[in-house]
């Protein structure tokens, strides 16, 4: 099966003398959750901008459903009807006076009828749990609310593929949980979700597959494979995750629990057979 979107051997540098990507290949498959990891300046955001046609690669192609994306208005419009990107800083995305207006920007651009626009906006706000904020001015929102509004703006486009650049950055732990729950709901609803992060444990718990963007290239593999590869992690300025080590400890204690979050770890601890349980 074709991936929804595919980056094929992309080469790119903002400054021709300093390439950022030197041959990046990555496929985004329908329904598969992908986490993109990498060091600061590794090129995650750049890769996303290339995938959305916001930058033009020096070499290589972006393919939508197996077809090369044409860089004219038609081609880019088709791409962006299918794929939406949520930037890291929500302030870059919010510019209208209030939340509902901002979310309506994309659907209006699609040329939908007023009724259809309203329906889309309402659905998106509800999906993000911010229906009550509809007529709030965007500049009075908290950071987490802004983030949700920005995501709602993308969701209102009903994309097949939703790409989020560091969506959990700056959120408190409960905010991260809520966001992941929202993304899972979207995923269950049929949207393919891709996100970038610096948090290895987050990638471990959430993703089916991990892509590491470093030194100009992309390395894609199953989560456990990447997170088991200490050399790869070190070379990409990432550290190991807690969870795999915890799993080994639990295994040694004869427990079958495989916690992915600290909360799950404490639940597993409570479930340990009394014989081995620490007090």
């Amino acid at each position: 099966m074709n991936p929804i979107l595919r980056a094929d051997d992309l080469v790119f540098g903002y400054d021709p003398d300093r390439p950022v990507l030197t041959g990046a290949t990555l496929s985004l498959h329908e329904g598969r959750r992908l986490a993109v990891l990498g060091p600061n300046g590794g090129g995650k955001t750049t890769l996303f901008r290339l995938l959305l046609g916001l930058l033009e690669p020096g070499r290589g192609r972006v393919l939508l459903d197996g077809e090369p994306v044409r860089r004219d208005r038609r081609g880019l419009t088709r791409l962006r009807e299918q794929v939406q990107l949520v930037l890291q800083d929500p302030d870059d995305q919010l510019f209208a006076a209030d939340v509902a207006q901002d979310v309506s920007f994309g659907p209006l651009n699609l040329g939908l009828s007023a009724a259809e626009v309203t329906a889309r906006v309402d659905a998106a706000l509800t999906a993000l749990g911010i229906a009550d904020l509809a007529d709030r001015p965007t500049h009075l929102l908290s950071f987490g609310q802004k983030k949700r509004t920005a995501i709602a703006g993308a969701v209102a486009m009903r994309p097949r593929l939703l790409v989020l650049d560091e969506p959990t950055a700056g959120l408190d732990p409960a905010g991260v949980e809520e966001l992941l729950a929202t993304l899972d709901a979207l995923h269950r609803g049929g949207t393919t979700v891709v996100l970038s992060t610096h948090d290895v444990d987050l990638a471990h718990r959430w993703a089916d597959e991990v892509a590491v963007v470093a030194a100009g290239r992309v390395r894609v593999a199953a989560v456990d494979e990447v997170l088991g590869d200490a050399d790869l992690l070190r070379s990409a300025r990432l550290g190991p995750a807690w969870a795999p080590g915890v799993h080994r400890l639990l295994e040694a204690l004869g427990s079958a629990a495989r916690p992915r979050t600290p909360a799950e770890l404490y639940a597993a601890l409570a479930d340990l057979p009394a014989a081995v349980a620490p007090q």
Binding site: F95, A96, A97, D98, P137, H139
Partner: protein, 232 residues
């Protein structure tokens, strides 16, 4: 419309620099004064200068399908007043010359005269006049931006005509010539800039009313219950 580096003969370049100088010096005095009474306004002025620079990096779609850039003089003059714009405009034009090679150092005086002096004054005068006559903020801003833009181009036409009189019809003919070349491209652009400025200000009234009040564009309400933020 920037006159490029090296375009004007030395006498013209010098004369326009002399013509602009009093306005720029007056603007500098105003800024020095303002900064002395309120040191924090330095940051606001820096932000305003950067805003003016970036405004001219917006790409307006134009009839021909190509893009053009707004002059931003209208919005700048309404928001920051002409004396301050004379200085900020000079700074911005200098930066455009040395960062983008857009405009030039020898033509700085001429460009300042059209874009940082005449444009802002025409825009501001229009704005005040329309408001005085009871016009709303919207029409005032639209006309200020459109006429400010046109005035800038008229001055540029005259500057070029003086430097390059027409072979047969002299300076007068050259003014008509440069003027009509610009008119074809500029009248639609002036309308575009007016419209865009109108939309921006309308959005700002909703998004940033406090800043507009601070700049005197919106009337200050009688009581201002603001948070106690202290910078000193």
């Amino acid at each position: 419309m920037h006159i490029a580096e090296g375009y004007l003969p030395p006498l013209h370049a010098a004369a326009w620099a002399v013509a602009s100088a009093p306005f720029v010096v007056h603007g500098a005095r105003a800024v020095v004064q303002q900064v002395r009474t309120d040191p924090d306004s330095k940051l606001l002025l820096g932000a305003a200068g950067a805003f003016s620079f970036v405004l001219s990096a917006l790409k307006i779609p134009s009839v021909t399908g190509s893009c053009s850039h707004p002059t931003g003089t209208g919005l700048g003059a309404v928001l920051f007043r002409p004396p301050v714009m004379a200085l900020l405009g000079t700074v911005v034009l200098f930066f455009q010359a040395v960062l983008l090679a857009h405009g030039g150092l020898t033509t700085l005086g001429a460009n300042v005269f059209s874009m940082a002096v005449v444009g802002p004054w025409v825009a501001y005068g229009t704005y005040r006049l329309v408001r005085r006559l009871g016009g709303g903020l919207g029409p005032a801003v639209f006309l200020a931006a459109a006429l400010g833009d046109l005035a800038t181009y008229c001055v540029t036409s005259v500057q070029l005509a003086l430097a390059f009189p027409d072979a047969t019809s002299g300076v007068g003919g050259a003014v008509v010539k440069f003027g009509s070349i610009f008119a074809i491209t500029q009248i639609p652009l002036a309308v575009s800039e007016g419209l865009l400025t109108l939309l921006v200000v309308r959005l700002l009234v909703r998004v940033s009313p406090d800043e507009l009040r601070r700049l005197g564009v919106l009337p200050t309400p009688p009581a201002t219950p603001t948070a106690k933020e202290v910078g000193a």
